[in-house]
């Protein structure tokens, strides 16, 4: 499967244009389910364009920040994001991301891939099981959530009504967010893949709010390890330019769609993508 199958060589212009188009699709998908674009970008760059994995991970970090900022601008304005919960949980994600950047040398990558592959397989199962849960919580006796007033409400355009919700489980939420930051720094992918289940399953935020809030947070998690990637020379401008531009366009489009799509649909797309990522990670760990 080679993209250079036609006559002649793929020139930089061909590369930039084709990668920008693929990135638009990555941006739409990433913004809709709160995962960033890395899920699409890393395999496309390594398998289709035969780019070195280190440079692909650098591009993935750029795509995550692009998805986050591009989509969050719209989600925050439309009150889909839970700003307080997002900013509160960033305590754990940024701490995880910074500690992860310095743990890379201590833990064998293959073990990490297998471990997180299993964690994500379980998360996709847990997220799938919650598909019939329609009504959010009306009361919360979680002391942290009450103290910081992390509860909220959003307008669901698909159901045409305002939906208030209460937040619980901040302690397991924080723990999962720490792991999400760690994974993001260690493997360059999967930061949103743990954030959405943490908010949906552990903290009982509505699915669309979980997706929008994950989107809001992944940019900050990625930024916490972006400095390291930049200094190590992993952010190649010729790869980053089409990825950033394409993903930003796609995220702007995807952000318009989330309000109108049914929660159940968002959940199902998320579960499918999560299963793919978990298989991808297991494969990297077991059959390198």
């Amino acid at each position: 499967m080679s993209i250079c199958a036609y006559n002649g060589t793929m020139t930089p212009l061909d590369f930039v244009v084709s990668l920008a188009l693929i990135s638009v699709a990555a941006g739409v998908l990433g913004s809709l389910i709160g995962l960033g674009g890395g899920v699409v970008i890393v395999p496309v760059l390594t398998l289709l364009y035969h780019v070195d994995i280190r440079l692909a991970i650098g591009a993935s970090i750029v795509s995550v920040i692009a998805t986050s900022s591009g989509a969050a601008a719209a989600y925050v304005r439309e009150r889909m994001t839970n700003l307080r919960a997002g900013m509160f949980l960033e305590i754990a994600t940024t701490t995880g991301a910074v500690s992860g950047a310095y743990l890379t040398t201590l833990l064998p990558t293959r073990f990490l891939f297998v471990f997180f592959g299993l964690v994500l397989a379980y998360s996709s199962f847990a997220t799938f099981q919650r598909r019939h849960v329609a009504e959010p919580l009306a009361v919360s006796n979680d002391r942290i959530a009450n103290y910081f007033n992390l509860h909220g409400s959003y307008y669901d355009a698909a159901e045409e009504r305002e939906i208030p919700y209460k937040v619980v489980g901040t302690k397991p939420g924080l723990a999962l967010m720490y792991v999400a930051g760690l994974v993001s720094a260690l493997l360059g992918i999967g930061s949103g893949a743990l954030k959405v289940p943490a908010m949906d399953s552990a903290m009982h935020l509505p699915m669309k709010v979980s997706s929008a809030t994950s989107n809001f947070m992944i940019g900050v998690t990625a930024a916490a390890s972006a400095g390291v990637y930049f200094v190590r020379g992993q952010i190649d401008p010729v790869i980053a330019a089409p990825v950033a531009a394409g993903v930003l366009l796609g995220a702007t489009v995807g952000a318009r769609a989330l309000g109108r799509v049914a929660s159940k649909t968002v959940r199902l797309i998320f579960v499918v993508v999560l299963v793919v990522i978990s298989l991808e990670m297991l494969q990297k760990g077991l059959l390198p």
Partner: protein, 130 residues
Amino acid sequence: MEEKVRKVELAISLVLRTGVVVSVLVIAVGLGLMFAHHSAYLPIRGHFSYKELTSKTTPFPHSFASLGHSIAHGDGRGVVVLGVLVLILTPVLRVAVGVLSFIYEKDPAMTIVTLYVLAVLVGSFFLAGV
């Protein structure tokens, strides 16, 4: 109170949108410069492979010193890196606006939370030695 919260939401949204638009414009200018200076990159069926620009050994700026040098020489790829840095710094700026917002909302608990996040973020760039 409601009004203040709404103002904060709009401010954060504006910061994100501005960062995104500025970075895309800078990246576009950089790409334009790169293609304008290297006609070999342009043909659809030329002989210059993209792999020469995207391999492990391709040189490109990855420190502030080399970035400044590259931009001073009008190198398009240096300008692209500048645009990518604007994109990377957008979430950091967003957290900084978050701190100011919670001071404005007179919410000391959340102010401390966001200050901690900002400190970790800024610290991460210093630890990396940018």
